[in-house]
């Protein structure tokens, strides 16, 4: 279970952007969190991905309360969650070739030896052709870069995926392709998904259930 309990979070303690948010994703479940621009849903997604320490409340991951966030999160919790952000350009180190971008989590966790094979496998999963793997982010389109970012998120076989507006910048065909890649991964691993977005039609089509922001957080 990925549980958010009474989470209050933001960037200024006096004016939190998320107040008293409750959300539970059961194993294998796909939950869509639907909210308008600027409501705080990305902040909540960051909390769920252990990338932002809440001011109050707690995150419970598979029964274990999370004690540290960002670099303070224990590795086994940190690597249990894969994250894909809205803007691939801001989420990719411009100096890295796509192959190195995808391999980064593997190297960071001491799996350097198996990285090459795994990268090839991941690239295939997300529909990247081998010639693209040698390029740097400025040499590929947003859609291709987002495919690489999804491959990176899947590299450590996470039990949970947090997708924050993963497809908001992308065209319809790339959106459908990336969602299919996520769903194929979930079908083969039983991973749970929290997909945050503002496209009701997309989330309804993609997720098992879609919850509106008002039902998750207090105004």
């Amino acid at each position: 279970m990925l549980e958010l309990r009474a989470v209050t979070a933001g960037y200024d303690r006096r004016a939190p952007v998320v107040r008293d948010a409750h959300l539970t994703v059961t194993p294998g479940e796909a939950v869509g969190l639907l909210g308008p621009s600027g409501c705080g849903k990305s902040t909540l997604a960051r909390v769920a991905a252990l990338l932002h320490r809440p001011d109050a409340g707690e995150v419970v991951l598979d029964g274990t309360p999370v004690r540290g966030f960002r670099h303070r999160a224990p590795r086994e919790q940190r690597t249990a969650i894969g994250v894909v952000f809205q803007q691939p350009r801001l989420a990719a180190d411009p100096r890295l070739r796509l192959a190195d971008l995808i391999a980064e989590p593997l190297r960071a966790t001491g799996r350097r030896a198996s990285a090459a094979d795994r990268v090839a496998e991941l690239a295939d999963t997300v529909g990247l052709t081998p010639d693209l793997l040698g390029r740097r982010p400025h040499e590929v389109s947003d859609g291709q870069l987002q495919r690489a970012c999804l491959a990176r998120a899947l590299a450590l076989k996470p039990r949970w995926l947090v997708c924050d507006e993963m497809t908001a910048m992308l065209d319809a065909s790339t959106t459908a392709a990336l969602v299919r890649a996520v769903e194929d991964y979930r079908a083969s691993t039983g991973a749970g998904l929290l997909s945050v977005g503002h496209d009701r039609v997309l989330l309804n089509r993609w997720c098992d259930r879609t919850v509106p922001w008002e039902a998750v957080a207090a105004g």
């Binding site: 308008p36 600027g38 389109s141 319809a172 503002h198 089509r205």
Partner: protein, 330 residues
Amino acid sequence: MTPAPLLSVRDLSVRFLLPGGRRVAAVSDASFDVAPGECLALIGESGCGKSVLASALLGLLPANARTAGHAHLGELDLLTAGERTLARTVRGRRIGLVPQSPAAHLTPVRTIRSHIEETVARLTGVRGRTARRKAGEQASSRAEFPLDHLDRHPHELSGGLAQRAATALALIGDAPLLLADEPTTGLDRDLVDRTVDELRRHVDDGHALLMITHDLAAAERIADRVAVMYAGRIVELSDAAPFFGSPGPRHPYSRGLLEALPERSFTPVPGLPPELGSLPEGCAFAPRCDRATDICRVLPYLENTVACHHPVPAPAGTSHATRTPEDTRA
């Protein structure tokens, strides 16, 4: 009767010259018109050359770009006009740009109010601090930008609000041609509808709008006509109603794009778009196309509404009358 076009683009091509003599064919032989009171939506996958086309019209291409063809805005050819002409008479005054990434478009160290009031001062006759403040607030409300956020800096805005700030800026000069480059990216559906309806209102007031987008729902809501771009070429140019409704698009790529929508079959077009630096001979879509045959090695030109050797025929009331001799060979 169609009014005379405001913008008339003929055989527009853009090539990027890269080190080592490589050439990237970003846009090839694009021809279209946009008339006052009309919205043309240019749609296609990311990386297909849509934004390059917009940059060409504004004279904002990087130095290694070479253009060919014509783009007439009235008497002026935008492709050959000098930077001085473009900067002083065209940008903001004759063409208003709603940019693709407002976060990069806005100056990070200045508030939104400061952006808007400077634009008001530069492009309109409004003088005096109070009048400018009032005009700035009116401009903000036109684009639904909340007035209590005017004193914020760009990084303090959500993506949606930054987009609305950029839209507000584009509308200030009251330019006859609006060029919107992905104006709805990152906005939620209600906001997309409102942004698009606002742009449509300006079209109905007599502006011409060229909207570049990959958001097909937004295009359907606003466009009178649709141009579909694939690998730098316009492969279909059609009225919006038959394109989005019945009988639907005629180019297999256009059909694939529409079918990828979550409200339709949610199936991606197989494969990836080709590299603009190494386009295949003939039809660039052929490698991804289930209708492709040998003849597709010859480049199809835009005839009637579609550039395809095997377009889906307009069924004219009959269902699935799509069989052609080529199909039986395929």
